[in-house]
Amino acid sequence: MSPRLLKKTLLRLGFWCLIGILLVYAVFPFYYAIVTSLKPSSALFQVSYWIDNPDFSNYAAVLNQASFLRAIGNSLVVALCVVTLALFLSLTAAYALGRVKFRGRGPVLMMVLGVSMFPQVAVLSGLFEVIRALGLYNTSWALILSYTIFTLPFTVWVLTTFMGQLPHELEEAAIMDGASPWVTLTRVLLPLLWPALVTTGLLAFIAAWNEFLFALTFTLTDSQRTVPVAIALISGGSPHELPWGLLMAASVLVTVPLVILVLIFQRRIVSGLTAGALKG
């Protein structure tokens, strides 16, 4: 082998080694959670890298817990409602910010960006008071309302970017056809924005599904908990006797749908994340 070819081969080999390491690093923890979740509790404390005899008792145990199923239901309701609310509010706002030139547009955009940088804990006490005043404490509504603080700025920002990219003349054609701003938005621009809505909706869904601090603070009873809180609160007899198999089964259950979504919508998610960050 000539030195040149050798060098090339070694480079290739190194490259694929790096890719391998990267993949193991990214995927192994999740894989290991699956491995653990498929072990009976007797085999739990022997480290193994492979799934030998899949045992579904952990899954059966998790799915038999009414409170866990309830938590999944709560999480779904909260996340879907947040997505709907945030998309509706941000769609009209994004039309105004992305397509109309008016005094005050810059400050509004700055404010939206500012809110997205809020530390959640900074509004915790004030929000707690608002929620209690509205009688929403320990309900899903408390979470739906409070989650808009981090979903709304994001969806407004991303949709404004997408809205600004639609051709100018399309809207003018609608104006010439006698369309009001509302008709222009709903019948001309909205049908073209579906891909962007799917992307932003998905990102907002993931954010709402994963939220922990508000869910921990604004709900009290098992029947109102969301999945992250339910998982965080799974405990055994003592801190050192956590039911790891059960925990991993629950973790896998709430993560698999997200992983599938991410794998399917990978391209869209990337475009949404970068539209929110880079073009801002």
Partner: protein, 320 residues
């Protein structure tokens, strides 16, 4: 040319005259903005103001309405026995130190790793799309879940990390990752870095793909060493995207809560400012004191965010 002539004073009225058509449009815009603005006022602006106010009172969680004004004594207070308040609370300063430590190390690691992975994935190879999708998995996993998975993997007795390190001969005895005060911060950082590198990678990758390819072709024609090209061409061009990613991550890291809460709960060796504030707010029911801590955290974040916006605008001006 008459196109660019400036106005005579008596022409000024032309500038401000708006037709009803335009006015209607602007009115519609504000109408469209109103729901969003109301919502943000309800969940962000008003609660924030209330938090500021609470920090000046002795409110308790049981009944926030029944609070009396105590001035700045939540922050700093001198009584016969000496100074008290957050600003002299060693726990608070410990939380500040922890947060800064966490922010500097994890953001630094994330930027470096994210950039390296992005450079790796910027090479065209078969299966790249799949690899790119797979590395998104850590990002999609809820923070709570990843904290749980890692705390299982980092378990002192049965954790696979200890097992691996033992069998590789890196350590002699299992490490108590989450319990040992010296190691627990590292455990938190490991989990956070694992979860956020994909995000940074994506930003870097998008930025890399926007770089002008002619620079590279020119460099290749000139026979410049790839490493030199990276330092001289790629890195300077990536700087803006790198800064954006760093700011996003810094602001996120300063308010870190979930990972720490789940991985190491209230251990003082990892307690962050957010954990500290929440502990006083909810567990000790001391809304006044907790709000003061929240306010301080908000101020820190606000100063950094403003510095970023200011620098960003300056950069824009320089560019134009």
């Amino acid at each position: 040319m008459s196109v660019s002539t400036t106005l005579a004073p008596d022409d000024e009225y032309l500038l401000t005259r708006e037709t009803p058509v335009q006015r209607r449009r602007v009115r519609a815009a504000w109408l469209f903005l109103t729901p969003m603005l109301l919502c943000l006022a309800l969940v962000a602006a008003w609660p924030l103001l209330r938090t500021f106010w609470f920090s000046l009172t002795d409110a308790s969680l049981a009944d926030t309405g029944d609070a009396s004004f105590v001035g700045l004594s939540n922050y700093l207070f001198h009584s016969g026995a000496g100074w008290s308040g957050i600003l002299v609370d060693p726990q608070w300063w410990n939380a500040v130190r922890n947060t800064l430590h966490f922010t500097v190390v994890s953001v630094g690691l994330e930027i470096v790793l994210g950039l390296l992975v992005a450079l790796l994935l910027n090479v065209k190879f078969t299966g790249r799309a799949l690899v790119r999708a797979l590395i998104l998995i850590p990002w999609a996993i809820p923070t709570i879940v990843s904290a749980k998975i890692w705390s299982w993997m980092l378990n002192d007795q049965f954790g696979i990390i200890n097992h691996m390190m033992l069998s590789l001969g890196l350590i002699d005895a299992p490490l108590a990752w989450t319990a040992d005060a010296d190691l627990s911060m590292w455990a938190v950082i490991i989990v956070d870095v694992w979860k956020t590198v994909p995000f940074v990678t994506l930003l870097m990758l998008a930025a890399l793909q926007m770089l002008p390819s002619d620079c590279y072709e020119a460099a290749r024609v000139d026979g410049i060493h790839p490493v030199k090209v990276f330092w001289r061409v790629t890195l300077p061009l990536l700087m803006p995207a790198l800064l954006v990613a760093a700011i996003f991550r810094i602001l996120d890291s300063l308010r870190v809560f979930d990972v720490i809460y789940v991985l190491t709960s209230n251990s003082s060796s990892t307690m962050s400012m957010s954990v500290y504030a929440r502990q006083h707010l909810v567990e000790f029911q001391d809304v006044g004191y907790g709000s003061a801590a929240s306010t301080l955290l908000f101020l820190v974040v606000a100063v950094i965010a403003m510095a970023y916006l200011y620098l960003g605008r300056r950069q824009l001006e320089v560019r134009s």
